[in-house]
Subunit: 157 residues, 2 copies
């Protein structure tokens, strides 16, 4: 697996990665986020990309293999008073392209995020995972995460 | 309860609220964040407050009654490609002062946050709650949140 993964590059997402990223999210049924490759929706993705790019706290990454986007995740560093004014990194929107799963790309992405968090002196890395994604839960526990919290959501639209 | 709550003001935290906020977090055993009112720790809280204040995505609030801080929470608005480039609000570090619980202050704070989220056109409000805080889980479900996710954390220090 290590040999296979030596050809994976993790880097910040660029504008030209957007079509591949949208296609990956659109192919994710369980997320149920209504993502679509319809051209009418593209300006909304462009706008969101610009917001993420401009934020000092948020970063969107891609995993690339042979010039193709094969995975993605996003990080957000938050600061809070709790923990004597500590910082935390939240990892969100982790996806590996369907035909690239089971090869360790997801683990590589999460380990990359953890290394970034350590580099920034962050106290804690956290994420939430849909209750139904049992495989994902085992994956995160293998990487050293503890399922210590319940994640509550409320849809507003 | 409504009559009692008409005297609660929710507003952005100010620098001079910090001692009261630190005392509230220090009194929270379950959080286990090592918060302390020791003067040596105060500069760290000040630094964190400055970071939050400077962030375009993060806002720290207090609930005030009769000039005293009786509750606090923090919001963070994140933008992601998923959901056609949608935004979400994360609510964190929700605390009501121990002697002020059971009066609806927590619900008022969360409803305030939800109203802010709606005002910003946010698609989703989310938060995580320690597995052991059963009362908090019932509280969030009563307010309309669904416990749809597992929250994973990894301490880095």
């Amino acid at each position: 697996m290590a040999a296979e993964l030596s050809d994976i590059l993790i880097r910040q997402a660029r504008r030209e990665d957007l079509p591949a990223l949208v296609a990956m999210f659109a192919a994710d049924a369980l997320g149920g986020h209504g993502d679509t490759t319809e051209p009418e929706a593209f300006p909304d993705y462009l706008r969101a990309f610009a917001v993420i790019e401009a934020s000092p706290d948020q970063t969107l990454y891609v995993a690339e293999r042979g010039g193709e986007v094969v995975g993605t995740f996003q990080t957000m560093v938050t600061t809070s008073l709790t923990g004597c004014g500590s910082s935390a990194m939240i990892i969100e929107a982790v996806q590996t392209r369907a035909d690239m799963r089971g090869q360790g790309i997801g683990a590589l992405m999460i380990e990359f995020a953890i290394a970034k968090a350590k580099g920034r002196g962050v106290r804690l890395v956290q994420l939430t995972s849909n209750m139904m994604r049992r495989d994902a839960h085992r994956f995160y526990e293998r990487l050293g995460f503890k399922p210590s919290h319940l994640g509550f959501k409320m849809a507003l639209k």
